[in-house]
Subunit: 335 residues, 2 copies
């Protein structure tokens, strides 16, 4: 077809923050499609904290990206050619397309979406993995009941922003933790959380005592480190901690465990890990709820769009310096 | 009545290992009974790792022992006088009698036991709080199913020895972790565990890989620290960790959290704290099972008896140096 594909391959396992030197930028010809395959032009690439883990060769829930392999990433795009009856040229799709301009995969590796119902980027945010993660992590693992106090870290981020909004929809108090005055104002003003603690400007332990006078019933953790310890120090009896991520630790070299984990005993509390992929058979159920809440205005999805495939390494780093508000996506092409 | 009561009062909050200088030894007259009260001659005092926590003023599941107060402890004794219709002189009872020769309390603060059914010390071991802790911690929090691999630390101790035996009764594989060849031989030979890892002589991580080829389904933690981390490194999918204690950390000054707690996410596992007192309404149910297993020989209770109230501080320290095998009790009087 004569198409050229610009892509980032993993060149090195990063020490600390991922950097441009950890990737190799390549320009390669797009090969011919085989029977059953679909060619997708990638329009948006999803940038997720989990990508840092995939770059590492530590044992995890999924195999690491091999050195030399195209960097793994979710994305949304438009089908430009298909040799599969299930998907036609012109369809819009989401899938794990990698950090590149064109992806080739079987139809089972992608999902059709309707850009007339929601912007394509929303299928990477509230209607995508962050939405699914928030929905099942909060409701299935956190099991909040009306009146509960739900605290979520990275509250202005892709997952945290949805966790707090679902908590409100379910009749809970939602308290966010985020970095900076602007993010906190967004979390309370725009997203309707009851309060938001600025971990850059406030003592989080003191602030949790103040905002959670009856303790924390559900803590949804995206960050680990000192903020997880602060939440452990403020648990209500029978509290549930959802372990979704530990972004504060991913680039630190040595992970730090929560030194006050015996608060789990004192408060007869639990700490449970979750991985969104386990809920794949139930994604439809979540998508129906999330789409209805979006339509009614009860749920807001915000995407923070950085333009240009060339900017991928620096855009990825924004996740770890906390520069994004809402779901971070990289725009690769217009249509 | 002219009785003299020798007792230990808490004199100081220990830094590190509890020492004789943290207690004040007193000899005081036993006061007259009031209506409703019972006078108990303490025969055995229960020595428990939790006592270290009660000496500290850190926030916990129970108020600390105040400086100057008689040191809190469970015990078993014989009623020598009663002004309460529910309990008569000559009855044998267990309760929180403190570290002293005579205790005065209302009848609701003690429980009658029958020394013809089991030795009095067994009511402080398999039929007492250690038995209840093992029973509810394993079955209610750990939720093992037949065929599961159950690992327990401090496996030669009061709680751990019962956890593994109940695991066997319930059709699981039981793997202990204990300190020293003699304890390990006791755990496998006498108690019937499938294996026991000597943390003083073996690399626990390597040994867990070897003894738990399919991973750990239930880990019952009494110790914390490096052994908790080794267990986290070997979890099976959907594993349950029961947090019952952290004896390796109690005297360390600073608690260390498990640095690899993100294994909970990788394995969709949970870590849940438990306190035995919550199960008080169901103690009868556990006691029936435990007594039946004891009677049939399926369950063995072993008590490690140190004689002499005078030896209390040094006997307590034995828990933390790992000198006891089975339930450690202090014998105060013959009858």
């Amino acid at each position: 077809m004569g198409l050229h594909n610009r892509r980032y391959r993993l060149a090195a396992r990063p020490a600390g923050m991922p950097a441009r030197s950890d990737f190799e930028f390549c320009e390669e010809a797009v090969r011919e499609l085989r029977d059953g395959e679909v060619l997708v032009k990638v329009l948006y690439i999803s940038l997720d904290p989990a990508m840092r883990g995939w770059m590492s060769d530590a044992r995890s829930y999924i195999a690491p990206v091999a050195i030399g392999e195209v960097m793994r990433a979710g994305g949304a795009g438009r089908v430009v050619a298909s040799r599969n009856d299930a998907i036609a040229a012109g369809d819009h799709v989401v899938g794990m397309f990698g950090v590149q301009e064109y992806a080739i995969a079987g139809a089972s590796r992608m999902q059709r979406v309707d850009p007339s119902l929601a912007p394509l980027t929303t299928y990477l945010a509230a209607l995508g993995m962050p939405g699914m993660t928030a929905y099942f992590g909060l409701l299935d693992v956190g099991r909040p009941v009306p009146g509960n106090t739900v605290v979520v870290s990275a509250a202005a981020g892709a997952v945290g922003s949805i966790v707090g909004q679902i908590a409100k929809i379910k009749g809970c108090r939602a308290i966010g933790i985020a970095g900076g005055v602007a993010k906190c104002a967004y979390v309370t003003g725009e997203l309707g959380f009851d309060a938001c603690i600025d971990y850059k400007g406030e003592d989080v332990r003191a602030a949790l005592r103040d905002r959670c006078p009856d303790g924390i019933d559900v803590y949804f953790d995206n960050v680990g480190g000192a903020i997880l310890e602060a939440a452990l120090a403020r648990l209500a009896m029978h509290a549930r901690i959802v372990i979704c991520g530990a972004i504060s630790q991913y680039n630190s070299g040595t992970m730090k465990g929560p030194s006050n984990y015996m608060s789990l005993l004192v408060h007869r509390a639990s700490m449970t890990g979750m991985v969104v992929f386990d809920y794949a058979p139930r994604f439809g159920e979540a998508a129906r709820d999330l789409a209805a809440w979006l339509k009614s205005g009860m749920l807001k999805s915000r995407e923070d769009v950085v333009a240009g495939l060339d900017n991928f390494p620096e855009a990825l780093a924004m996740l770890f310096t906390g520069e994004n508000t809402g779901k971070l996506v990289l725009k690769v092409a217009n249509a």
